[in-house]
């Protein structure tokens, strides 16, 4: 930081009690404040020129446009993402190209370690440091799949013209949260976001709920892939084991003794790990988090019945990039009762209909309507959204049979959304902050890695990194504190001073050619719609150069809100 800034800031502190002229006291203020409010909620805040664009087309038209993302061309995003080949690959393709070679190398390393040293002192084969160089490269390759996904998420959030769509992808991913670091979940993340979340954020809730229920990512994350009928006979359980044994005993198999031994060990392991009863994890979160809500009126008995309904919903080769499969032999064929409704049991492939029926019931339940309406209203309006709005949006949900475009529209066009109390009522999450800072400064992104890294390292909100199924908190209490502010100010400073300019560039001088009153007013208008406290205004007044001016603006309390 330059010496002049230091002096200027000191002066600012001295002058802090002098009345500052509110920079935005001009005729456009009311309109611009509303436009900024809309951009802060429907989008991740304005880019340079956005306020004027929305003013020209009208707020209503802008919201309608955003509600129909399929009609919005997005050439910049298409271009930026065209180099990430992994985004469009299937899970099987990713497994084949990225994950299996790494696993193979790891296995070889493990065998080698076991052979080299039978004692306990063998280096941990799971520690990446102990991998041979060629396996290190494979590991980096495999990691690039997740890296691409993270960078793509940030590129879309910052540059997409379909802003509402991107806001909703984040919202719904968080609603149906999965954690990248749990087991094989990372192998399924790419298809999860692409195929189970993205297509439905303005579609039908039941469709998204179904896509999630069928997704290997969720089946793995919440363990349902291991949930089986506890009464399943031992014979059925051992079916696969027997088949493998038969193969081994086949004289034409031509296996070395060592290979045979290894296969037997794996078989024993598989037997030991074979599922033997229900797992309640998915069934509970399906009701608490995905649909009814924690006060949804279900009981522990309902959780267990629900788990029985979903027995057999599993993954073919869960750790091998497999796909959803329903295994009738794992399914509990007896009748179940959930939420007072009896669902008749089915054997064979018909058993899967029970799960579909349960999803139908849950999706159309009034508690689900209320839960979804509340959460959306909390994202778009305020931490404690007005009950009137939530009730109305819930009615729209039920009437439209879970049409999320209608529910979202009901919220974004409501008087509560446009009430003055709602303006700036939300505190930005770290993700909101990082994306809005990159947008408002018109940053050119060559690589989004610094944005991904900032969220992971200092801002405490790594992408795909929320371990509990609850997802990240979206309310102010969790995120607002001194430590967080410091990290945000540091991010702002590093962004506008182009510390990682090969990845992200901000044209500081175009935004702020100088630090004059006129420039400051222009910035305060375009970034904060003229709303600025005397304290912040006085501090900005003493900024010695463009970089510091922008950094202070991004660090201001006003910019932490939306």
């Amino acid at each position: 930081m330059s010496r002049t800034l230091r002096i200027a800031v000191f002066a600012a502190l001295v002058l802090v009690f002098l009345p500052a002229v509110p920079a935005g006291a001009r005729s456009q203020e009311a309109d611009d404040a509303t436009i900024l409010h809309v951009l802060n909620r429907v989008a991740y805040g304005p880019r340079p020129g956005d306020i004027a664009r929305v003013r020209a087309m009208g707020i209503k038209a802008y919201i309608e446009q955003q509600l129909a993302p399929e009609k919005i061309a997005d050439p910049d995003v298409d271009r930026a993402l065209s180099s990430f080949e992994t985004l469009t690959m299937t899970t099987a393709e990713l497994a084949e190209k990225y994950y299996r070679p790494l696993e193979q190398a790891r296995r070889e390393q493990q065998q080698k370690a076991a052979k080299d040293d039978k004692a306990m002192m063998a280096p941990d084969p799971n520690d990446p440091k102990n991998l041979p160089p060629e396996a290190q490269a494979l590991r980096q390759n495999a990691q690039s799949v997740l890296q691409n996904l993270m960078q793509a998420r940030m590129i879309r959030a910052v540059t997409s013209e379909r802003q509402l769509n991107e806001v909703l992808v984040d919202f719904w991913f968080n609603h149906f949260n999965v954690y990248a670091q749990k087991g094989a979940v990372n192998e399924y993340l790419n298809e999860y976001e692409r195929d189970a979340i993205r297509p439905y954020v303005l579609g039908n809730f039941r469709d998204m709920l179904g896509a999630v229920a069928h997704s290997p990512a969720m089946l793995f994350y919440l363990d349902n892939f291991q949930s089986v009928d506890p009464n399943m006979s031992a014979r059925q359980q051992d079916e696969r084991t027997r088949q493998v044994q038969q193969r081994l005993n086949n004289p034409r198999a031509r296996m070395t003794a060592e290979q045979r031994e290894r296969a037997m060990t794996q078989l024993e392991q598989a037997k030991k790990n074979a599922p033997r009863g229900i797992n309640e994890n998915y069934a509970r979160e399906l009701m608490e988090l995905h649909t009814l809500g924690v006060d949804g009126g279900y009981t522990q008995k309902d959780v267990q019945e629900m788990a029985r309904i979903f027995t057999g919903w599993t993954i073919d080769q869960p750790r091998g990039g497999g796909r959803f499969v329903f295994k009738p032999e794992w399914h509990d064929p007896n009748a179940k009762t959930i939420l007072g409704e009896t669902i008749s049991g089915h054997g064979g492939v018909d058993g899967m209909r029970e799960g579909e029926r349960a999803l139908d019931i849950l999706a159309m339940h009034p508690k689900t309507a209320h839960h979804v309406a509340f959460q959306l209203a909390q994202r778009f309006v305020s931490d404690a959204p007005p009950a009137s709005l939530v009730d109305r949006a819930a009615k729209v949900y039920l009437k439209s049979k879970g049409n999320l475009r209608e529910v979202t529209r009901a919220i974004l066009t409501s008087p509560e959304f446009f009430s003055v109390e709602a303006y700036n009522a939300k505190v930005k999450t770290p993700l909101d902050f990082v994306v809005s800072a990159a947008r408002v400064t018109g940053a050119t992104i060559v690589s989004a890695a610094p944005l991904v890294q900032a969220l992971r390292a200092n801002l405490g909100m790594p992408l795909y990194g929320c371990q509990p199924p609850t997802g990240y908190s979206t309310t102010a209490d969790a995120w607002v504190n001194t430590g967080a502010l410091l990290a945000r100010m540091n991010f702002g400073l590093s962004l506008v001073s182009n510390q990682q300019q090969r990845a992200i560039r901000v044209n500081t001088l175009a935004l702020a050619p100088d630090t004059s009153q006129a420039t400051r007013d222009k910035l305060v208008d375009s970034i904060l719609a003229g709303r600025i406290s005397p304290t912040t205004s006085a501090t900005l007044e003493k900024a010695p150069n463009s970089t510091q001016l922008l950094a202070l603006l991004l660090g201001s309390p006003e910019f932490q809100k939306r």
């Binding site: 800034l5 797992n279 994890n281 988090l289 801002l459 504190n481 501090t539």
Partner: protein
């Protein structure tokens, strides 16, 4: 009477004196605050810790019949004797660190702690433990309420969350605590040093100390501008702390190292929030496998606490800290079909410190699935609580923090047999 913020503002000084009425309490507070370095460290095991794998009833035959793959063999548990009911108990074999602390008499284990009608929801369970309220979980956190009562203005680092967000427990009616997951990253990006750096910080401080009128607890900077600024140096001192022992390179050990650093530097933090996750073990819990999830969790917890314990002992500060360990619920007794355990009821709490009266508190459940078994609930499916978790909080608040627990917990939860501190 619960004082809301509006009442507080309206009532001014008179509302203030309601909270600070009892003279005895004021002297207790003064005494507790006289020990500048004395602190409470919460170690939260996130996800619902399987208490029966932490403290193992290794002679209960039902433990083995109901956990055919998860039971830890009797021969490998770390025996800690028997409780008042005569039940033999042992720590998980990977809790060797904790066992050393237990043997030194500095670890209290409070069995079957929880509350009636235990929630199986991570969300709700956490909120109940955070607010210390089983019926309304939207209010302030119990530790936040403690921070609220510190003399005004509370030092900005009176509370410290070592995770990226502020846990509900630390959110008071008037104040909150900074989230500083990594002390080394807690510095204003400025090439300057010494007095010159103060100018850059002033910019940060002046711009950040703008308080939202309605909800001061969600201001980015609590306390005065002056004190906010001073936190930077204090945290920098913590970041540079070198322990007298080696702390492992994992999140928990490093967080405890920061706590130790804060104590050695005497920065006045009263409450630390430290947490470690991975306890939501619905599948492949791995209680016995060398690299099992649960086994590794136990090793991390035990070894990290031992490092902290020994470091504090070497520094002569062991009597100034009390670590309280808990989770949002325990897990089901019978293992599920995927080598894991589903959400259950009562759990185990632990307290560690130089002034902690070590030993076993409360009695273990019998795991006999008979529905009439009084130590179980949910048709013999879950361990039922014996000690209300708020009684444990009360003991810590009254006897360690020196504050009247009935005010902070909205009721009298004192239980004299809980003499662990």
């Amino acid at each position: 009477m619960k004082t809301t913020r509006r009442d507080f503002i309206r009532g001014g000084v008179s509302a203030f004196t309601v909270t600070f009425a009892a003279p005895a309490f004021i002297s207790d507070l003064a005494r507790a605050q006289g020990a500048n370095r004395r602190n409470l460290v919460i170690l939260y095991l996130s996800g619902g810790n399987d208490a029966l794998s932490t403290l193992i009833p290794y002679q209960d035959s039902f433990y083995y019949s109901r956990r055919p793959t998860l039971a830890v063999p009797a021969g490998s548990v770390l025996q800690v004797g028997a409780d008042a009911s005569g039940k033999a108990l042992g720590l998980h074999p990977r809790l060797t660190g904790l066992k050393q602390i237990f043997d030194a008499g500095h670890l209290a284990i409070i069995q079957r702690s929880g509350y009636s009608n235990s929630s199986r929801s991570h969300f709700l369970g956490t909120d109940i433990w955070s607010t210390a309220n089983t019926t309304n979980t939207t209010g302030s956190g119990w530790l936040g309420r403690y921070l609220d009562q510190l003399p005004n203005p509370a030092p900005p680092l009176a509370g410290w969350s070592a995770v990226g967000t502020v846990p509900h427990s630390l959110i008071g009616n008037y104040v909150t605590a900074p989230a500083i997951p990594n002390p080394a990253g807690y510095a204003f990006l400025s090439p300057n040093t010494g007095t010159e750096a103060t100018y850059s910080r002033n910019a940060m401080t002046s711009i950040a100390s703008h308080l939202p009128a309605e909800r001061p607890q969600v201001a980015f900077v609590a306390g005065t501008a002056q004190s906010a600024m001073s936190t930077l140096d204090q945290v920098a001192a913590v970041a540079s702390y070198a322990g007298t022992v080696t702390y492992a390179n994992n999140g928990l050990a490093q967080a405890l190292k920061a706590v130790a650093g804060a104590m050695v530097q005497g920065i006045g933090t009263k409450v630390f929030w430290v947490q470690t996750g991975g306890f939501d073990t619905h599948s492949n819990q791995g209680t016995n496998a060398a690299n099992g999830t649960y086994a590794n969790n136990m090793a991390t917890v035990g070894d990290s606490l031992l490092a902290f314990h020994n470091d504090m002992k070497n520094r002569g500060l062991l009597n100034d800290t009390c670590v309280l360990v808990f989770s949002e619920f325990g897990r089901r007794i019978t293992e599920n079909g995927s080598g894991g355990t589903d959400h259950g009821a009562a759990g185990v709490m632990m307290a560690m410190g130089g002034l902690v009266n070590g030993g076993l508190y409360g009695t273990a459940a019998s795991l006999n699935p008979d529905p009439q078994n009084p130590t179980l609930e949910n048709n013999g499916g879950d361990v039922t609580f014996e000690t209300d978790f708020r009684s444990v909080y009360a003991r810590v608040i009254d006897n360690w923090l020196g504050v009247d627990s009935t005010g902070l917990l909205y009721g009298n939860f004192r239980k004299s047999s809980l003499s662990f501190i």
